[in-house]
């Protein structure tokens, strides 16, 4: 039995946990305000809110309902556009009207929900954050300028928000109906533990599997990991940072530990899909999907991550770079799953960079991505790890390139020589994300970009090209 609250109503359903939350909302509950645009998480028309009770507090985020297996809603408060409607328009809705930010209206409920999620956040609002909140919403009519203005004006209104108790503030300021104040109590009455079939297909946030084979998932046994509190969280001990396998990209972005050691994590992760997808997609899901271009795979390869694989009572630890064997082939036994990801704490001399280029800068799959971690002693590279995606059958740790750079002095000559080795190490193919020639050139450029960014005093594009 899946139990959750949809808007103000308690839902108890025997529907298959692998059917989509979207279909349940639209056709099961006849709430047609949540729209179907693509069923791939690429348009945001079906955006809803997911509220989670943690430490007596309900926190909300935007999720994509077409990719959410219904089972992931268990124990949550799910809010569709109907659930925020009041007699008068909310300030979010009003801003959209005032700035003429709606034309055909089909994408509009999605934008309203994303901006409402932004309003509910326990962070201070800025225009940039408001726009990031709608980075997963596609509008084909307006050209976005009016939507930008609406987002900006909402952000202005939110300047006075009480970030300690956003829900109370939001209700008081007519962003939300009053029933939101009772949700915490209602959620606490739902039994969260849920019996799960073992040895079934594991599904996390659904952001890959629900795109690839929704029909299969809607009918087969599935093992839901999304809400497994034992697999969440980001911790640090003396030498390592440990990330639970069900941690999602947003949690990593917001983690003070990650921010301390990777001060650029926010701009880097902003290149990865969209805010609602980052709210859903798990780190282990990205690894296990084994896409040669998986952003998190590339990011963590350069960090020399290890993964802990678990099967009932047995665990083993392997380097992430040994996890990828061949195209979509993993060093993963039947019944095994990733329990956690462990990275060494970067020391003070370490610097890190992540690069990604895709046809569209945001909410797109990379043509090529690359990450690098350098340990620098003045202009000497003490240690180096480079990874690249989209240039091989697997997310590639560039071991030869990395080895070559160790101990070298950073000069344009070194970088050029390293690029020659790098070009030998990769085998890109021509596909819809670019031709082989393009991917080779692009990776060279991204490789250059790492050094131009990290060592601007010794490396410049001009000299690399001359």
């Amino acid at each position: 039995m899946i139990t959750f609250i949809l808007n103000h109503k308690l839902i108890q359903t025997d529907s298959h946990p692998g059917t989509t939350l979207l279909d349940f909302i639209r056709y099961g509950e006849n709430l047609p305000g949540t729209k179907i645009g693509c069923r791939e998480g690429d348009c945001g028309a079906c955006t809803v809110l997911e509220g989670t009770l943690e430490r007596n507090k309900v926190t909300y985020k935007s999720i994509i309902s077409c990719l959410t297996p219904l089972g992931n809603a268990h124990g949550k408060h799910i809010v569709s556009i109907e659930g925020i409607n009041m007699k008068e328009l909310s300030p979010v809705q009003e801003a959209m009207v005032d700035h003429a930010a709606t034309q055909c209206g089909f994408c509009t409920p999605g934008f309203v929900m994303s901006l409402t999620a932004h309003s509910l956040s326990d962070e201070k609002s800025t225009k940039e954050k408001a726009i990031a909140a709608i980075s997963g919403n596609i509008c084909r009519c307006t050209g976005y300028k009016s939507i930008e203005k609406a987002a900006e004006s909402i952000s202005e209104i939110l300047k006075v928000k009480d970030i300690n108790d956003p829900i109370q503030w939001m209700v008081e300021n007519k962003f939300l109906p009053e029933y939101f104040l009772e949700i915490g109590t209602k959620l606490s009455q739902i039994e969260v533990t849920n019996v799960q079939p073992v040895n079934a297909k594991i599904i996390g946030g659904g952001t890959d599997l629900m795109v690839q084979r929704p029909e299969q998932i809607a009918e087969s046994d599935i093992n839901l990991f999304y809400n497994r509190s034992d697999l969440k969280g980001i911790k640090k001990n003396k030498y390592t940072i440990i990330i639970g396998s069900a941690a999602n990209a947003s949690e990593m972005m917001k983690s003070p530990i990650m921010q301390e050691y990777f001060p650029k994590i926010k701009p880097h992760f902003k290149l990865i899909s969209s805010e609602p997808i980052r709210n859903m997609g798990t780190i282990a899901g990205n690894f296990v999907n084994a896409s040669p271009i998986g952003d998190l795979s590339i990011f963590f390869l350069a960090l020399n991550a290890n993964i802990i694989l678990k099967e009932s009572n047995n665990t083993r630890k392997i380097p992430l770079k040994d996890f990828f064997l061949d195209y979509k082939k993993l060093n993963l036994n039947t019944g095994e799953y990733i329990e956690s990801v462990i990275i060494p704490v970067p020391d003070e001399k370490s610097v890190f960079n992540f690069e990604k280029v895709s046809k569209r800068t945001h909410l797109d799959i990379a043509s090529v991505n690359s990450a690098i971690q350098l340990k620098l002693n003045d202009d000497i590279i003490e240690d180096c790890s480079v990874s690249a995606g989209g240039v091989s059958a697997i997310p590639k740790y560039l071991s030869k390139t990395s080895d070559y750079l160790k101990g070298k002095k950073i000069t344009n000559g070194t970088i050029l020589k390293a690029n020659e080795i790098l070009q030998e190490e990769i085998a890109p193919i021509s596909d819809v994300r670019g031709t082989e020639d393009y991917k080779r050139l692009l990776l060279r450029q991204l490789f250059f970009a790492h050094f131009i960014k990290l060592c601007p005093k010794s490396i410049s594009l001009n000299e690399l090209l001359s």
Binding site: K35, I36, C43, Q93, T102, I131, R360
Partner: protein, 750 residues
């Protein structure tokens, strides 16, 4: 006034086809499309699929009681393939089941055997092999052949422009159910209610009066639902008619992308000749339009390409030929601009090429050749009320183009990792359907006894806020509050024989019909008032819901006037009919006066290019647009911003990739990228050119839907300027869309 739908949109209450509460027993459909792009159907086996529990019927051409034909201009497109398939995804069968899941499962159980024939996706190859949809058409003026010798400079080149997926966020869909007396009602997400009615009647073999088509609103159209909503409405209608049950169809995005036609890709050759003072003396172009597997609207799109092949310039000697080529892609169709963007991209490329080779500024050549009052368009229409130079000069005065150029030069000299580029994009776009008979419309106005109004027109609401403009028209004619007025759905039983809402003309045509209806009603109401006031009709007027006599307020209010008129048995219903005057066009001579008026404008586009990564951001698009006397600047500015973004998308990131076997590779939103919020130019400024506006525009407010799309073309030329600033070896070329891939390859071209 804001879009009247705004409040319902932001609360998710607006109803689209898939939101209509379904009747009990509604069945759901899914379309089986050909897995091959070209060939002969040897065998179609439905038996496995039919056995599936929950299947209510599978329909093929054999089940069509009427004619299996949905071709509009030319009858060359079956609803279901009979013995041959001509594009991948071509509908072969329609599965109807208890629910969508079962219907989609059945699709996988259908077996089809196809003898594969040669697949052609390239228009030049098709033309070479003689596969044309219609005979080629040529627009000529002066004598190109004689003039080359007199030109001081001649340049030639090749231009490619890609197709474009409409990506309306609401996919194609319909809901059909049986009515009394063998009739059927279809709710369709279509821009052309009458077209759906006509084709469904043809398919069912019934008179048009048996088919009622109703359209509440569309979740985006952009031309993609002008002709191509029809098959999906017909399929639901067919199944519903045969099974006598309600049937609903809502295409999955991937099916929609694979099966439906898009903007036509074009491949063109040009030759341009200039005098030493940079006047364009002669222009010649051969354009190969990729029409896809059937005509659809290609003949009309061919025509509009020709009309706009010289954009905003007067070129005394022109000769442009368009081959509409038959290929094995889905039949390409209307998309905002309707062939004009493709034509304008060629002339702009030719000018860019000349400017680059002569090492002069492109905008200097553009400015020298703007069309002037009383010049002749190459189709014989005299240019009147020409505003292109006004727009350009206003842009220069408002935005200081010299200064922008200077700043860019300075930026480029200081920065090596990034470069900026700028381009000026003038536009000139003719308003009217180029097929003269389509320029007619009707509106039905009821004034109810309580003084409220219900208005029906042939216009379809799809976000362009045509319904809002309709309310403005009625409110203005009667001088009453907008709250009194309701716009009804577009319905073929209330307004018949409608033209599709297209060609930017929805407001002009339907609004003028509505204006006429309201004016006729007003005249009758004034007569009633004159009786009440015992005065002459000429002394009566209405202002702010109060009847005036000789300009002075009386105590007769609107509601009282209506009640009196009703009791006096005055007709409070009126049908207005409008046909655009003046226009005509003779296809045998390719001359005439096809347009009611032209829309002009100028955009200044600037871009910053990341020369390390090949990515780019548009800094500014500064526009001076000729709205006429805009009746609603909020809505009209929204149209400009939206069209601009689509135009930028077309020439930058929106890339359709077809495999050699005709399969669309970019068949999902994962692989086909449209602009997101971060792709929008950082700053968009729109200045309205101050004019009175033409009489033939609705309330002198010019049509606005399509013209601003072409501002986006400026993005291409700004980008190539930036590339050239980084890599002087780069030989400028014209191959849209200029994706980050193409940009990077050009940045490092040797």
């Amino acid at each position: 006034m804001k879009n009247i739908d705004s409040k319902n949109h932001v609360t998710g209450k607006s109803v689209y086809v898939d939101d209509i509460p379904v009747q009990t027993g509604t069945l759901h459909g899914a379309v089986f499309g050909s897995p091959k792009a070209h060939g002969k159907i040897i065998n179609l086996n439905l038996s496995e699929a039919e056995k599936l529990e929950g299947i209510e019927g599978i329909f093929t051409f054999k089940d069509i009681p009427g004619r299996n034909q949905i071709g509009g201009i030319i009858e060359d497109e079956p609803l279901f393939a009979e013995h041959e398939v001509h594009f991948l995804g071509q509908p072969v069968a329609f599965v109807v089941a208890e629910n969508e899941t079962i219907a989609r499962k059945a699709l996988k159980l259908i077996k089809i055997e196809i003898e594969e024939w040669e697949v052609i996706t390239d228009p030049r190859e098709a033309q070479k092999k003689g596969h044309l949809l219609i005979p080629p058409r040529t627009f000529k003026m002066g004598n190109v052949a004689d003039e080359w010798a007199k030109c001081d400079f001649i340049f030639e080149g090749k231009v490619e422009s890609g197709g474009q997926e409409h990506l309306y966020i609401e996919t194609q869909g319909s809901y059909a159910y049986p009515m009394d007396n063998g009739s059927i009602k279809i709710h369709s997400s279509t821009q052309g209610a009458t077209l759906v009615q006509k084709m469904a009647a043809r398919i069912l073999g019934v008179p048009m009066h048996r088919v009622e088509v109703d359209v509440a609103r569309l979740g985006g159209g952009f031309g993609g639902k002008e002709d191509q909503a029809t098959p999906y409405a017909c399929m639901a209608a067919l199944a519903s008619y045969i099974l006598q049950k309600p049937v609903k169809l809502s295409l999955h995005r991937l099916d929609d992308m694979q099966m439906t036609g898009k903007r036509h890709p074009y491949s063109s050759d040009f030759k341009i000749g200039l005098s030493k003072d940079y006047k364009i003396v002669a222009f010649q172009a051969k354009m190969y339009q990729n029409g896809g597997a059937a005509n659809d609207l290609s003949p009309a799109i061919t025509e509009r390409t020709l009309f706009h092949s010289t954009n905003a310039y007067y070129i005394p000697n022109t000769e442009v030929i368009v081959y509409s080529c038959k290929t094995n892609l889905p039949p390409n169709t209307a998309y905002r601009g309707f062939g004009a963007p493709q034509g304008m991209f060629v002339i702009e490329s030719a000018i860019a090429k000349a400017a680059c080779e002569l090492n002069v500024s492109k905008r200097m050549i553009q400015e020298k050749n703007f069309i002037k009052e009383n010049d002749l368009f190459q189709y014989g229409q005299i240019a009147e009320n020409v505003n292109i130079n006004n727009c350009y000069q206003t842009a220069d005065q408002t935005y200081h183009i010299d200064q922008i150029e200077k700043e860019i030069e300075e930026f480029n000299s200081k920065n090596t990792n990034s470069k900026k580029g700028m381009a000026v994009m003038p536009i000139c776009f003719g308003i009217s359907f180029t097929k003269t008979p389509m320029n007619q419309a009707r509106a039905l106005v009821h004034i109810y006894q309580d003084g409220s109004l219900g208005i029906s027109t042939g216009a379809v609401e799809m976000g362009q806020a045509v319904n809002t403009k309709m309310i403005q028209v009625a409110a203005k004619v009667f001088s009453i509050k907008t709250e009194r007025i309701k716009i009804e759905s577009t319905n073929t039983t209330r307004v018949a024989n409608t033209s599709p809402t297209a060609a930017s003309s929805g407001a002009d045509l339907n609004g003028n019909a509505l204006r006429i209806a309201c004016e006729n009603l007003l005249e009758r109401l004034k007569q009633t008032a004159s009786k009440m006031l015992l005065c002459n009709v000429s002394e009566v007027s209405i202002e702010n819901e109060i009847v005036l006599k000789n300009g002075k307020k009386t105590d007769i209010l609107w509601e009282q006037l209506i009640e009196t008129a009703f009791l006096d048995r005055i007709a409070l219903t009126e049908n207005g009919h409008y046909a655009t005057p003046v226009i005509h066009f003779d296809k045998t001579k390719e001359t005439g006066h096809p347009f009611a008026y032209h829309v002009y404008g100028t955009a200044v586009v600037t871009v910053t290019l990341d020369c390390i990564r090949g990515t780019y951001e548009f800094d500014d698009v500064k526009i001076v647009h000729d709205f006429g006397n805009s009746m609603n600047s909020i809505i009209d500015n929204g149209q400009v911003e939206g069209a601009l973004m689509q135009g930028i998308g077309w020439v930058t990131m929106e890339e359709l990739a077809f495999a050699k076997d005709g399969k669309l590779l970019s068949s999902s939103l994962t692989t086909y990228k449209v602009p997101d919020i971060y792709s929008a130019p950082k700053n968009v400024e729109i200045t309205a050119l101050k004019t009175e506006g033409p009489e033939l525009a609705l309330l002198r407010s010019k049509a606005v839907g399509e013209p601003p799309f072409m501002y986006g073309i400026g993005a291409y030329f700004a980008l190539i300027k930036a590339i050239k600033a980084f890599n002087s070896n780069y030989k400028i070329d014209f191959d849209a869309p200029l994706t980050p891939e193409k940009v990077l390859m050009r940045l490092y071209q040797k």
